[in-house]
Amino acid sequence: MADLILSPNLENADDFYADLLAAHDGLEKAGSDALNARLVLVLANHIGDNAVLAQAIKAAALTGE
């Protein structure tokens, strides 16, 4: 079973974060929430592995300590 990567893995963290913010530019709260939801689903499909995704959900909940 593959493990969720929780060490730094972004090629360029600042560029990614700026791109993410830019995608939300000009959106109302509902539009932003919907964008985040679609982004989670797109990234989940890219990961594919259900075991990894289960670990990711647990990590994001901040209850897996």
């Binding site: 990567i5 929780l6 060490s7 730094p8 893995n9 972004l10 963290a13 600042d14 990614f16 974060y17 700026a18 993410l20 913010l21 939300h24 530019d25 959106l27 709260k29 932003s32 985040n36 990590a59 994001a60 901040l62 300590e65």
Partner: protein, 536 residues
């Protein structure tokens, strides 16, 4: 009150120029005796160029102002003969702590990389830097260098001509006229020069206010950088605590945009804020309080004929990342060798256009980085804040989120990718020394690499043959022959060869790489010298 603020450093003294029958013409006049103007004057005087610095004041700047000086600035200060006292006086720190709300979310230890003469950065009050630079200027004067600093000389009008500039200067004894072939404006963010010439200062505007306080206390806070996001003592805003020499602590409290500046600066309003931050029973004295308003913007062009803008007069950034004074010092580092070649007729006037393009590239990089930091520290939309808080929450639990936390990306030198002065990279070498890069230092037995690369064009050969001296159209290049064996720690190899077994570098007087290949090839390097001096 600290005495350094009271003592005139370059008091008014009548100049023979004021009694000359017709205006005296100097090679270069620098307006402003802050760190950038003084660095420019020292750099030019060391090269034998006649330079006069005019300043409307006669003392160091008031309050700590710029306090964080990066390695590249220290390397440049070494070249100017003023680096040692900065490092000796400055505070070095490695540990940073990040707080969010009422808790510490993580700390980091910036163990300095080995193999550099200078630390990654030091904390030092700007007035000490100014003091050290004036000391250096005085030492140069004592050696007969053509350098003058004229205090209480206020430039009231500027006339620009094709081949010179003409200045009307107001002094305590009346006004006089003086001329210069070249003018360097280092007169700060509110540059009177820029205003007198009617030049723009536009770009992305971001406005915020910071309460900056220098506090003297014998507290046992360690020499660490503490940064708070949304702390209980400054809700919705940020705060920074940083140590300076002499038991002075720098405290930055973000106040937001819509505030009453006069009211916020009163001690009866400042002291309760500081007590809430430091603790009720900490004893402290306020040395200096200021409200700092910043914007991120730059001039469209840093060169206007015979007038060159450097430092805050040309570009302004947010304070996050210490990119103000550090980038200004890089401006003059880039400018002075070019100006010297143009003055001596060894390079065309158009070489100075590369000052404009290279330093605009640097300014844009600094504005981008400091704008991103500003957005993280002060999210401008609700979703930006949600994402920022998510990063901070995750950073408390997982390493991966920590590179996303942005409380300022510390100033690093700009790599002039795409500069017209670069030749195409012809070495399969490390990215960090590609053409355009500032040369990283490397240990060489008892000494270091950078002092051997200063103030002249250098042909650096590493396990490669090459001529001891090249002269190409008046430009002299001298060889520094090294071997990877000169550095048992292998940093020279790691930083300059990588997977290559030999290398030849052409290095500019400002220690930036102009060209590199695996071996010496006469035609290629002669062409590279011509390119690096604006002749191709």
């Amino acid at each position: 009150m600290n005495k350094i603020f009271e003592t005139p450093l370059y008091g008014y003294d009548r100049s023979p120029d004021q009694d000359a029958p017709s205006p005296v013409r100097h090679k270069v006049i620098v307006i402003g005796a802050g760190p950038i103007g003084l660095a420019a004057a020292i750099d030019l005087a060391q090269k034998g160029v006649d330079v006069v610095v005019l300043d409307d004041n006669d003392k160091v700047s008031f309050g700590s102002r710029a306090i964080c000086f990066a390695q590249r600035t220290l390397d440049i200060a070494d070249r100017l003969g003023g680096g040692r006292p900065m490092v000796d006086k400055g505070v070095q720190w490695n540990v940073g702590k990040v707080f969010f709300d009422n808790r510490e979310v993580y700390s980091f230890d910036l163990q300095p990389d080995a193999g550099y003469a200078n630390p990654a950065f030091i904390n030092l009050q700007q007035y000490y830097l100014e003091q050290f630079l004036v000391d250096r200027a005085r030492a140069l004067q004592a050696q007969g260098a053509p350098l003058e600093i004229r205090g209480r000389n206020k430039v009231e009008a500027i006339g620009t001509h094709d081949d010179h500039v003409k200045l009307e200067v107001e002094t305590p004894e009346g006004s006089y006229t003086v001329e210069a072939d070249w003018l360097i404006a280092c007169d700060g963010a509110n540059s009177p020069t820029r205003r007198m010439l009617g030049l723009d200062f536009v770009g992305r505007v971001f406005e915020d206010n910071f309460l900056i306080a220098d506090v003297i206390m014998d507290a046992d806070f360690p020499s660490e950088r503490w940064f708070w996001f949304d702390p209980p003592f400054n809700r919705g805003q940020s705060a920074l605590l940083h140590k300076q020499p002499d038991n002075v602590w720098r405290i930055d409290l973000q106040l937001g945009w819509d505030i009453d500046k006069e009211r916020e600066q009163r001690p009866e309003n400042v002291i309760p804020r500081l007590k809430a931050m430091l603790g009720e029973d900490i004893q402290f004295d306020l040395e200096w309080v200021s409200i700092y308003t910043f914007q991120c913007r730059r001039m469209e062009n840093f060169r206007h004929g015979r007038v060159l803008f450097a430092g805050d007069s040309a570009h302004q950034v947010s304070p996050f990342g210490a990119r103000g004074a550090n980038s200004g010092i890089q401006d003059t580092d880039n400018l002075c060798w070019k100006l010297k070649l143009v003055i001596d007729g060894q390079a065309p006037d158009s070489l100075l256009d590369s000052y404009n393009s290279e330093r605009i590239q640097g300014a844009d990089e600094n504005i981008l980085n400091s704008t991103r930091s500003t957005e993280f520290i002060t999210p401008k939309s609700p979703m930006s804040r949600i994402l920022r808080d998510a990063v901070l929450d995750l950073s408390e639990h997982y390493d991966f989120a920590r590179p996303l936390v942005n409380s300022g990306r510390l100033s690093v030198p700009c790599t002039y990718d795409g500069s017209p002065l670069n030749s195409a990279d012809a070495l399969n070498g490390p990215a960090g020394t590609r053409p355009g890069s500032a040369c990283p230092d490397a240990p060489l037995g008892d000494g270091f690499l950078l002092p051997g690369l200063a103030d002249k064009f250098t042909l650096l050969t590493i396990d490669a043959d090459g001529p001891d001296r090249i002269e190409e159209d008046g430009i002299e290049v001298t060889r520094l022959a090294l071997s990877v064996k000169d550095d048992p720690t292998q940093e020279l190899k790691r930083r300059y060869l990588g997977d290559a077994t030999s290398a030849v570098y052409l290095i500019r007087p400002d220690q930036h790489v102009a060209a590199r290949r695996d071996s010496y090839e006469d035609n290629a390097f002669r062409q590279a010298i011509r390119r690096a001096t604006g002749k191709e």
